[in-house]
Protein backbone atom coordinates (compact mmCIF):
# COMPACT_ATOMS: atom_id res chain seq x y z
CA UNK A 1 0.00 0.00 0.00
CA UNK A 2 1.48 3.31 -1.04
CA UNK A 3 0.11 6.49 0.32
CA UNK A 4 1.12 8.53 -2.73
CA UNK A 5 -1.31 8.34 -5.60
CA UNK A 6 0.07 7.93 -9.07
CA UNK A 7 -0.80 11.42 -10.21
CA UNK A 8 0.78 13.00 -7.19
CA UNK A 9 3.95 11.01 -7.65
CA UNK A 10 4.12 12.03 -11.24
CA UNK A 11 3.74 15.67 -10.38
CA UNK A 12 6.45 15.63 -7.74
CA UNK A 13 9.50 17.22 -9.20
CA UNK A 14 12.69 16.34 -7.43
CA UNK A 15 12.35 17.47 -3.80
CA UNK A 16 9.36 19.64 -4.52
CA UNK A 17 7.42 20.51 -1.43
CA UNK A 18 3.73 19.76 -1.54
CA UNK A 19 1.42 22.48 -0.36
CA UNK A 20 4.17 25.06 -0.59
CA UNK A 21 1.61 27.83 -0.86
CA UNK A 22 0.15 27.45 2.59
CA UNK A 23 3.50 26.64 4.14
CA UNK A 24 4.83 29.86 2.71
CA UNK A 25 1.80 31.63 4.09
CA UNK A 26 2.57 30.10 7.46
CA UNK A 27 6.02 31.61 7.30
CA UNK A 28 4.61 34.99 6.42
CA UNK A 29 1.88 34.93 9.05
CA UNK A 30 4.31 33.97 11.79
CA UNK A 31 6.81 36.61 10.69
CA UNK A 32 4.05 39.19 10.58
CA UNK A 33 2.94 38.13 14.05
CA UNK A 34 6.44 38.55 15.44
CA UNK A 35 6.76 41.94 13.84
CA UNK A 36 3.38 42.96 15.19
CA UNK A 37 3.96 41.75 18.72
CA UNK A 38 7.50 43.01 19.07
CA UNK A 39 7.14 45.95 16.83
CA UNK A 40 4.19 47.99 15.87
CA UNK A 41 1.53 46.67 18.23
CA UNK A 42 1.15 49.03 21.13
CA UNK A 43 0.62 48.16 24.77
CA UNK A 44 -2.66 46.74 25.93
CA UNK A 45 -4.93 49.58 26.96
CA UNK A 46 -8.50 49.62 28.10
CA UNK A 47 -11.22 51.98 27.03
CA UNK A 48 -9.82 54.85 29.05
CA UNK A 49 -6.35 54.42 27.68
CA UNK A 50 -4.99 52.97 30.89
CA UNK A 51 -2.42 50.23 30.44
CA UNK A 52 -3.65 46.77 31.35
CA UNK A 53 -1.53 43.99 32.79
CA UNK A 54 2.12 44.37 33.53
CA UNK A 55 5.09 46.06 31.94
CA UNK A 56 3.06 49.07 30.95
CA UNK A 57 0.68 46.90 28.99
CA UNK A 58 3.29 44.96 27.10
CA UNK A 59 3.02 41.94 29.40
CA UNK A 60 -0.28 41.12 27.80
CA UNK A 61 1.49 40.28 24.57
CA UNK A 62 2.40 36.92 26.03
CA UNK A 63 -1.12 35.85 25.12
CA UNK A 64 -0.17 35.84 21.46
CA UNK A 65 1.97 32.83 22.17
CA UNK A 66 0.28 31.29 25.17
CA UNK A 67 -3.27 31.22 23.85
CA UNK A 68 -2.47 29.65 20.46
CA UNK A 69 -0.45 26.97 22.22
CA UNK A 70 -3.45 26.16 24.37
CA UNK A 71 -5.71 26.11 21.32
CA UNK A 72 -3.35 23.76 19.54
CA UNK A 73 -3.20 21.44 22.54
CA UNK A 74 -6.92 20.94 22.54
CA UNK A 75 -7.11 20.71 18.76
CA UNK A 76 -4.34 18.12 18.76
CA UNK A 77 -6.09 16.11 21.42
CA UNK A 78 -9.37 16.20 19.52
CA UNK A 79 -7.64 15.19 16.30
CA UNK A 80 -5.97 12.35 18.15
CA UNK A 81 -9.19 11.15 19.74
CA UNK A 82 -10.96 11.38 16.40
CA UNK A 83 -8.29 9.28 14.71
CA UNK A 84 -8.35 6.82 17.58
CA UNK A 85 -12.11 6.46 17.18
CA UNK A 86 -11.65 5.89 13.45
CA UNK A 87 -9.06 3.24 14.16
CA UNK A 88 -11.47 1.46 16.46
CA UNK A 89 -14.39 1.78 14.08
CA UNK A 90 -12.32 0.31 11.28
CA UNK A 91 -11.91 -2.84 13.30
CA UNK A 92 -8.65 -1.93 15.01
CA UNK A 93 -6.50 -3.49 12.35
CA UNK A 94 -3.27 -1.51 12.49
CA UNK A 95 -2.54 -1.58 8.80
CA UNK A 96 -6.04 -0.94 7.66
CA UNK A 97 -5.26 2.73 7.78
CA UNK A 98 -3.01 5.38 9.13
CA UNK A 99 -5.36 6.25 11.93
CA UNK A 100 -3.27 4.96 14.76
CA UNK A 101 -0.17 6.71 13.48
CA UNK A 102 -2.11 9.92 13.08
CA UNK A 103 -3.38 9.59 16.62
CA UNK A 104 0.11 9.06 17.97
CA UNK A 105 1.44 12.04 16.04
CA UNK A 106 -1.35 14.29 17.15
CA UNK A 107 -0.93 13.31 20.78
CA UNK A 108 2.82 13.87 20.55
CA UNK A 109 2.40 17.34 19.11
CA UNK A 110 -0.32 18.02 21.61
CA UNK A 111 2.03 17.18 24.44
CA UNK A 112 4.61 19.60 23.08
CA UNK A 113 2.10 22.41 22.89
CA UNK A 114 0.62 21.52 26.25
CA UNK A 115 4.02 21.91 27.87
CA UNK A 116 4.52 25.23 26.09
CA UNK A 117 1.09 26.47 27.06
CA UNK A 118 1.47 25.44 30.69
CA UNK A 119 4.91 26.98 31.03
CA UNK A 120 4.03 30.26 29.31
CA UNK A 121 0.81 30.42 31.26
CA UNK A 122 2.53 30.01 34.59
CA UNK A 123 5.21 32.56 33.68
CA UNK A 124 2.50 35.04 32.77
CA UNK A 125 0.66 34.18 35.95
CA UNK A 126 3.78 34.80 38.00
CA UNK A 127 4.28 38.16 36.35
CA UNK A 128 0.71 39.16 36.63
CA UNK A 129 -0.54 37.79 39.91
CA UNK A 130 2.62 36.78 41.73
CA UNK A 131 2.22 33.03 41.72
CA UNK A 132 3.24 30.45 39.18
CA UNK A 133 0.29 28.23 39.96
CA UNK A 134 -3.11 28.89 41.39
CA UNK A 135 -5.26 25.83 40.63
CA UNK A 136 -7.39 27.98 38.44
CA UNK A 137 -9.70 25.58 36.54
CA UNK A 138 -8.46 26.53 33.09
CA UNK A 139 -4.86 26.41 34.16
CA UNK A 140 -5.45 23.04 35.74
CA UNK A 141 -7.30 21.69 32.74
CA UNK A 142 -4.35 22.34 30.44
CA UNK A 143 -2.19 20.52 32.97
CA UNK A 144 -4.59 17.58 33.06
CA UNK A 145 -4.65 17.41 29.26
CA UNK A 146 -0.85 17.44 29.45
CA UNK A 147 -0.99 14.50 31.85
CA UNK A 148 -3.44 12.63 29.64
CA UNK A 149 -1.20 13.12 26.61
CA UNK A 150 1.85 12.06 28.58
CA UNK A 151 0.02 9.01 29.93
CA UNK A 152 -0.95 8.13 26.36
CA UNK A 153 2.74 8.21 25.44
CA UNK A 154 3.66 6.08 28.44
CA UNK A 155 0.99 3.54 27.52
CA UNK A 156 2.27 3.35 23.96
CA UNK A 157 5.79 2.93 25.19
CA UNK A 158 4.88 0.07 27.49
CA UNK A 159 3.34 -2.17 24.84
CA UNK A 160 5.62 -3.79 22.31
CA UNK A 161 3.22 -5.59 20.02
CA UNK A 162 2.10 -3.03 17.41
CA UNK A 163 -1.48 -4.16 17.02
CA UNK A 164 -2.05 -4.35 20.78
CA UNK A 165 -0.38 -1.00 21.18
CA UNK A 166 -2.63 0.58 18.60
CA UNK A 167 -5.71 -1.00 20.12
CA UNK A 168 -5.07 -0.06 23.72
CA UNK A 169 -3.85 3.45 23.08
CA UNK A 170 -6.84 4.16 20.84
CA UNK A 171 -9.19 3.03 23.57
CA UNK A 172 -7.38 5.22 26.08
CA UNK A 173 -7.62 8.23 23.81
CA UNK A 174 -11.34 7.71 23.30
CA UNK A 175 -12.06 7.13 27.00
CA UNK A 176 -10.04 10.27 27.75
CA UNK A 177 -12.66 12.27 25.87
CA UNK A 178 -14.91 12.02 28.92
CA UNK A 179 -12.62 13.91 31.30
CA UNK A 180 -11.65 16.26 28.47
CA UNK A 181 -15.30 17.12 27.98
CA UNK A 182 -15.69 17.88 31.65
CA UNK A 183 -12.49 19.89 31.75
CA UNK A 184 -13.28 22.06 28.77
CA UNK A 185 -17.01 22.59 29.14
CA UNK A 186 -18.19 21.80 32.63
CA UNK A 187 -15.54 22.76 35.15
CA UNK A 188 -14.71 26.31 34.02
CA UNK A 189 -18.41 27.14 34.21
CA UNK A 190 -18.95 25.57 37.57
CA UNK A 191 -15.94 27.08 39.24
CA UNK A 192 -14.82 30.68 39.30
CA UNK A 193 -11.66 31.24 37.39
CA UNK A 194 -8.78 33.67 37.11
CA UNK A 195 -9.12 33.34 33.39
CA UNK A 196 -12.48 35.01 33.36
CA UNK A 197 -11.15 38.52 33.46
CA UNK A 198 -8.53 38.18 30.75
CA UNK A 199 -10.85 36.04 28.65
CA UNK A 200 -13.52 38.63 28.60
CA UNK A 201 -11.23 41.52 27.99
CA UNK A 202 -9.58 39.99 25.00
CA UNK A 203 -12.50 38.20 23.48
CA UNK A 204 -14.81 41.02 24.33
CA UNK A 205 -12.55 43.38 22.49
CA UNK A 206 -12.05 45.55 25.49
CA UNK A 207 -8.38 45.87 24.81
CA UNK A 208 -7.80 48.59 22.35
CA UNK A 209 -5.01 48.51 19.86
CA UNK A 210 -6.13 45.70 17.60
CA UNK A 211 -5.31 42.90 20.00
CA UNK A 212 -8.26 40.82 18.95
CA UNK A 213 -7.51 41.32 15.29
CA UNK A 214 -3.91 40.25 15.70
CA UNK A 215 -4.88 37.24 17.75
CA UNK A 216 -7.50 35.90 15.39
CA UNK A 217 -6.12 37.32 12.17
CA UNK A 218 -2.45 36.53 12.54
CA UNK A 219 -1.76 34.26 15.48
CA UNK A 220 -4.55 31.80 14.76
CA UNK A 221 -3.71 31.10 11.10
CA UNK A 222 0.02 31.16 11.84
CA UNK A 223 -0.15 28.55 14.56
CA UNK A 224 -2.81 26.45 12.87
CA UNK A 225 -0.81 26.17 9.67
CA UNK A 226 2.32 25.45 11.69
CA UNK A 227 0.51 22.64 13.47
CA UNK A 228 -0.70 21.10 10.22
CA UNK A 229 2.79 21.37 8.78
CA UNK A 230 4.46 19.76 11.79
CA UNK A 231 1.79 17.07 11.76
CA UNK A 232 2.29 16.36 8.10
CA UNK A 233 6.07 16.16 8.41
CA UNK A 234 5.89 13.89 11.41
CA UNK A 235 3.34 11.53 9.95
CA UNK A 236 5.29 11.23 6.70
CA UNK A 237 8.43 10.48 8.69
CA UNK A 238 6.62 7.77 10.62
CA UNK A 239 5.28 6.30 7.39
CA UNK A 240 8.76 6.24 5.90
CA UNK A 241 10.07 4.51 8.99
CA UNK A 242 7.38 1.89 8.76
CA UNK A 243 8.01 1.36 5.10
CA UNK A 244 11.70 0.94 5.80
CA UNK A 245 11.01 -1.43 8.65
CA UNK A 246 8.73 -3.60 6.55
CA UNK A 247 10.82 -3.35 3.45
CA UNK A 248 7.86 -2.69 1.19
Amino acid sequence: MNGIAQTEAASLAEGRVRGLWWKGLCGIWMAALILAVFGWLGPAVNAEGQPMFTAGGHGAKAIFFHVPCAWLTFIAFLVGAFDAARHLLRGARPHAGLDDLKCATAMELGLLFAVLATVTGSLFSRNEWGAFWSWDPRQTSILVVLLILAAYGVLRGSVTDPSTRARLSSVYAVVALVPAFFLIWVLPRVMATLHEGPNQTIVGGMIGGNYRAVLYGLALPAFLSLFVWLFQIRIRLLQLEERAAHGS
Binding site: R167, L168, Y172, V175, P179, F182, L183, L187
Partner: protein, 248 residues
Protein backbone atom coordinates in the same frame (compact mmCIF):
# COMPACT_ATOMS: atom_id res chain seq x y z
CA UNK B 1 -8.46 -17.18 8.18
CA UNK B 2 -5.81 -19.71 9.05
CA UNK B 3 -4.03 -21.36 6.19
CA UNK B 4 -2.90 -24.91 6.42
CA UNK B 5 0.71 -25.27 5.53
CA UNK B 6 1.36 -28.66 6.96
CA UNK B 7 3.80 -27.20 9.45
CA UNK B 8 2.95 -27.32 13.11
CA UNK B 9 2.42 -23.93 14.67
CA UNK B 10 2.04 -22.77 18.24
CA UNK B 11 -1.53 -23.17 19.35
CA UNK B 12 -2.11 -19.44 19.77
CA UNK B 13 -1.22 -18.78 16.15
CA UNK B 14 -3.13 -21.64 14.67
CA UNK B 15 -6.56 -20.16 15.06
CA UNK B 16 -7.31 -16.69 16.40
CA UNK B 17 -9.57 -16.72 19.40
CA UNK B 18 -12.66 -14.81 18.45
CA UNK B 19 -14.70 -13.25 21.21
CA UNK B 20 -17.99 -15.00 21.67
CA UNK B 21 -20.69 -12.59 20.63
CA UNK B 22 -23.67 -14.69 21.56
CA UNK B 23 -22.46 -16.08 24.85
CA UNK B 24 -23.77 -19.56 24.20
CA UNK B 25 -27.29 -18.18 23.99
CA UNK B 26 -27.53 -17.00 27.56
CA UNK B 27 -28.91 -13.51 28.10
CA UNK B 28 -26.48 -10.78 29.12
CA UNK B 29 -27.73 -10.41 32.64
CA UNK B 30 -27.34 -14.13 33.36
CA UNK B 31 -23.79 -14.17 32.10
CA UNK B 32 -22.86 -10.96 33.87
CA UNK B 33 -24.28 -12.19 37.12
CA UNK B 34 -22.43 -15.45 36.76
CA UNK B 35 -19.15 -13.65 36.21
CA UNK B 36 -19.85 -11.34 39.12
CA UNK B 37 -20.63 -14.25 41.44
CA UNK B 38 -17.58 -16.15 40.25
CA UNK B 39 -15.36 -13.20 41.12
CA UNK B 40 -17.09 -12.70 44.46
CA UNK B 41 -16.64 -16.32 45.39
CA UNK B 42 -13.04 -16.25 44.27
CA UNK B 43 -12.44 -13.17 46.34
CA UNK B 44 -14.12 -14.53 49.41
CA UNK B 45 -12.10 -17.68 49.14
CA UNK B 46 -8.78 -15.93 48.91
CA UNK B 47 -9.18 -12.46 50.20
CA UNK B 48 -5.88 -11.13 48.91
CA UNK B 49 -7.24 -8.17 46.99
CA UNK B 50 -9.80 -7.20 49.59
CA UNK B 51 -7.29 -7.44 52.40
CA UNK B 52 -4.59 -5.51 50.67
CA UNK B 53 -6.86 -2.69 49.55
CA UNK B 54 -8.46 -2.48 52.97
CA UNK B 55 -5.16 -2.43 54.75
CA UNK B 56 -3.77 0.11 52.33
CA UNK B 57 -6.78 2.41 52.68
CA UNK B 58 -6.85 2.23 56.45
CA UNK B 59 -3.14 2.90 56.59
CA UNK B 60 -3.59 5.86 54.27
CA UNK B 61 -6.37 7.15 56.46
CA UNK B 62 -4.22 6.89 59.53
CA UNK B 63 -1.32 8.60 57.79
CA UNK B 64 -3.56 11.41 56.66
CA UNK B 65 -5.13 11.69 60.05
CA UNK B 66 -1.78 11.75 61.73
CA UNK B 67 -0.40 14.38 59.41
CA UNK B 68 -3.41 16.65 59.39
CA UNK B 69 -5.60 15.70 62.31
CA UNK B 70 -3.50 16.99 65.14
CA UNK B 71 -3.21 20.41 63.53
CA UNK B 72 -6.89 20.78 62.79
CA UNK B 73 -7.52 21.43 59.13
CA UNK B 74 -10.20 23.26 57.20
CA UNK B 75 -13.23 21.41 55.85
CA UNK B 76 -12.03 21.79 52.28
CA UNK B 77 -8.85 19.98 53.19
CA UNK B 78 -10.79 17.20 54.90
CA UNK B 79 -12.91 16.76 51.80
CA UNK B 80 -9.84 16.69 49.58
CA UNK B 81 -7.96 14.18 51.68
CA UNK B 82 -10.93 11.85 51.79
CA UNK B 83 -10.88 11.60 48.02
CA UNK B 84 -7.12 11.18 47.98
CA UNK B 85 -7.57 8.14 50.18
CA UNK B 86 -10.43 6.80 48.04
CA UNK B 87 -8.44 7.38 44.87
CA UNK B 88 -5.52 5.40 46.20
CA UNK B 89 -7.88 2.70 47.39
CA UNK B 90 -9.40 2.37 43.94
CA UNK B 91 -6.16 2.50 42.01
CA UNK B 92 -4.38 0.05 44.20
CA UNK B 93 -6.81 -2.75 43.77
CA UNK B 94 -9.51 -2.42 41.14
CA UNK B 95 -7.34 -3.71 38.32
CA UNK B 96 -7.03 -6.99 40.17
CA UNK B 97 -10.24 -8.23 38.65
CA UNK B 98 -8.63 -8.26 35.20
CA UNK B 99 -5.03 -8.87 36.07
CA UNK B 100 -5.98 -11.95 38.04
CA UNK B 101 -7.51 -13.47 34.92
CA UNK B 102 -4.39 -12.75 32.94
CA UNK B 103 -2.11 -14.15 35.59
CA UNK B 104 -4.03 -17.37 36.07
CA UNK B 105 -4.47 -17.83 32.33
CA UNK B 106 -8.24 -17.95 32.49
CA UNK B 107 -8.75 -15.05 30.09
CA UNK B 108 -9.10 -17.25 27.05
CA UNK B 109 -11.67 -19.47 28.70
CA UNK B 110 -13.66 -16.41 29.73
CA UNK B 111 -13.43 -14.97 26.27
CA UNK B 112 -14.79 -18.15 24.78
CA UNK B 113 -17.70 -18.58 27.12
CA UNK B 114 -19.02 -15.07 27.67
CA UNK B 115 -19.76 -12.03 25.58
CA UNK B 116 -17.62 -8.94 26.11
CA UNK B 117 -20.61 -7.00 27.34
CA UNK B 118 -21.27 -9.60 30.00
CA UNK B 119 -17.64 -9.61 31.06
CA UNK B 120 -17.59 -5.85 31.40
CA UNK B 121 -20.87 -5.80 33.30
CA UNK B 122 -19.79 -8.53 35.66
CA UNK B 123 -16.40 -7.03 36.34
CA UNK B 124 -17.82 -3.53 36.71
CA UNK B 125 -20.41 -4.77 39.18
CA UNK B 126 -17.69 -6.52 41.11
CA UNK B 127 -15.55 -3.40 41.28
CA UNK B 128 -18.52 -1.32 42.36
CA UNK B 129 -19.24 -3.83 45.10
CA UNK B 130 -15.59 -3.96 46.09
CA UNK B 131 -15.16 -0.21 46.31
CA UNK B 132 -18.49 0.02 48.07
CA UNK B 133 -17.43 -2.51 50.66
CA UNK B 134 -14.11 -0.77 51.17
CA UNK B 135 -15.83 2.60 51.49
CA UNK B 136 -18.24 1.25 54.09
CA UNK B 137 -15.23 0.62 56.28
CA UNK B 138 -12.88 3.41 55.29
CA UNK B 139 -15.26 6.36 55.21
CA UNK B 140 -16.54 6.01 58.78
CA UNK B 141 -13.00 5.47 60.00
CA UNK B 142 -11.93 8.57 58.13
CA UNK B 143 -14.79 10.55 59.58
CA UNK B 144 -13.80 9.45 63.06
CA UNK B 145 -10.11 10.10 62.63
CA UNK B 146 -10.52 13.45 60.92
CA UNK B 147 -13.55 14.60 62.89
CA UNK B 148 -15.78 14.99 59.88
CA UNK B 149 -19.30 16.13 60.68
CA UNK B 150 -21.33 16.79 57.55
CA UNK B 151 -23.90 19.52 57.70
CA UNK B 152 -25.89 17.45 55.25
CA UNK B 153 -25.39 13.75 56.02
CA UNK B 154 -27.63 12.60 53.19
CA UNK B 155 -25.74 14.82 50.79
CA UNK B 156 -22.45 13.51 52.09
CA UNK B 157 -23.54 9.93 51.59
CA UNK B 158 -24.83 10.76 48.12
CA UNK B 159 -21.57 12.44 47.20
CA UNK B 160 -19.51 9.48 48.34
CA UNK B 161 -21.78 7.03 46.55
CA UNK B 162 -21.93 9.02 43.32
CA UNK B 163 -18.24 9.75 43.35
CA UNK B 164 -17.44 6.16 44.21
CA UNK B 165 -19.56 4.95 41.32
CA UNK B 166 -17.68 7.18 38.89
CA UNK B 167 -14.33 6.29 40.43
CA UNK B 168 -14.95 2.54 40.22
CA UNK B 169 -16.17 2.82 36.64
CA UNK B 170 -13.10 4.69 35.52
CA UNK B 171 -10.83 2.34 37.45
CA UNK B 172 -12.47 -0.63 35.74
CA UNK B 173 -11.90 0.40 32.14
CA UNK B 174 -8.38 1.64 32.84
CA UNK B 175 -7.70 -1.61 34.68
CA UNK B 176 -8.84 -3.55 31.64
CA UNK B 177 -6.44 -1.57 29.47
CA UNK B 178 -3.41 -2.06 31.63
CA UNK B 179 -4.16 -5.72 32.20
CA UNK B 180 -3.72 -6.20 28.46
CA UNK B 181 -0.63 -4.03 28.55
CA UNK B 182 0.89 -6.34 31.15
CA UNK B 183 0.73 -3.26 33.27
CA UNK B 184 2.98 -2.91 36.21
CA UNK B 185 1.55 -1.14 39.22
CA UNK B 186 2.78 2.35 38.48
CA UNK B 187 1.19 2.34 35.04
CA UNK B 188 -2.27 1.88 36.49
CA UNK B 189 -2.11 4.98 38.62
CA UNK B 190 -0.34 6.98 35.92
CA UNK B 191 -3.05 6.22 33.38
CA UNK B 192 -5.94 6.49 35.77
CA UNK B 193 -5.07 9.72 37.49
CA UNK B 194 -5.46 12.14 34.54
CA UNK B 195 -8.73 10.47 33.57
CA UNK B 196 -10.33 10.90 36.95
CA UNK B 197 -8.93 14.32 37.77
CA UNK B 198 -12.08 16.22 36.79
CA UNK B 199 -14.04 13.68 38.78
CA UNK B 200 -11.83 14.35 41.79
CA UNK B 201 -12.36 18.09 41.45
CA UNK B 202 -16.11 17.70 41.39
CA UNK B 203 -16.11 15.13 44.17
CA UNK B 204 -14.00 17.28 46.45
CA UNK B 205 -16.08 20.35 45.76
CA UNK B 206 -19.35 18.52 46.31
CA UNK B 207 -18.13 16.81 49.46
CA UNK B 208 -16.91 20.11 50.81
CA UNK B 209 -20.33 21.56 50.10
CA UNK B 210 -21.99 18.82 52.13
CA UNK B 211 -19.73 19.58 55.07
CA UNK B 212 -20.70 23.22 55.14
CA UNK B 213 -24.08 24.32 56.38
CA UNK B 214 -24.21 27.30 54.06
CA UNK B 215 -24.61 25.33 50.87
CA UNK B 216 -27.84 25.55 48.96
CA UNK B 217 -29.49 22.27 47.99
CA UNK B 218 -29.46 23.18 44.33
CA UNK B 219 -25.70 23.50 44.35
CA UNK B 220 -25.43 20.12 46.02
CA UNK B 221 -27.80 18.59 43.51
CA UNK B 222 -25.78 20.03 40.68
CA UNK B 223 -22.62 18.51 42.11
CA UNK B 224 -24.15 15.08 42.58
CA UNK B 225 -25.55 15.23 39.06
CA UNK B 226 -22.12 16.08 37.73
CA UNK B 227 -20.58 13.09 39.47
CA UNK B 228 -23.27 10.71 38.28
CA UNK B 229 -23.04 11.95 34.71
CA UNK B 230 -19.28 11.53 34.74
CA UNK B 231 -19.77 7.95 35.82
CA UNK B 232 -22.46 7.32 33.23
CA UNK B 233 -20.31 8.73 30.46
CA UNK B 234 -17.37 6.60 31.53
CA UNK B 235 -19.57 3.51 31.56
CA UNK B 236 -20.87 4.41 28.10
CA UNK B 237 -17.33 4.80 26.79
CA UNK B 238 -16.40 1.50 28.45
CA UNK B 239 -19.29 -0.32 26.81
CA UNK B 240 -18.17 0.99 23.43
CA UNK B 241 -14.50 0.30 23.86
CA UNK B 242 -14.28 -2.76 26.08
CA UNK B 243 -14.84 -5.34 23.32
CA UNK B 244 -11.79 -3.97 21.53
CA UNK B 245 -9.69 -4.16 24.67
CA UNK B 246 -10.92 -7.63 25.48
CA UNK B 247 -10.24 -9.28 22.15
CA UNK B 248 -6.78 -10.45 21.25
Amino acid sequence: MSTSTGRSRPLAEAAPVRPCTQGAGAPLWTQARAIFLKDVRSELRNRSALNSILLFSLTATVVVGFAAGAVGVATSVKAALLWVVLFFAAFSGLAHVFIHEEETGTTTALRLTASPGAVLSGKLLFNLALLGAISLVVVPVYMAVMDVRPASPAGFAAAVIAGGFALASAATIVGAIIAKARGKGALYGALGFPIILPLLFMAVKTTRDTLQASTEPSVLAQGITGLVSFGVMIVAASVLCFPVVWED
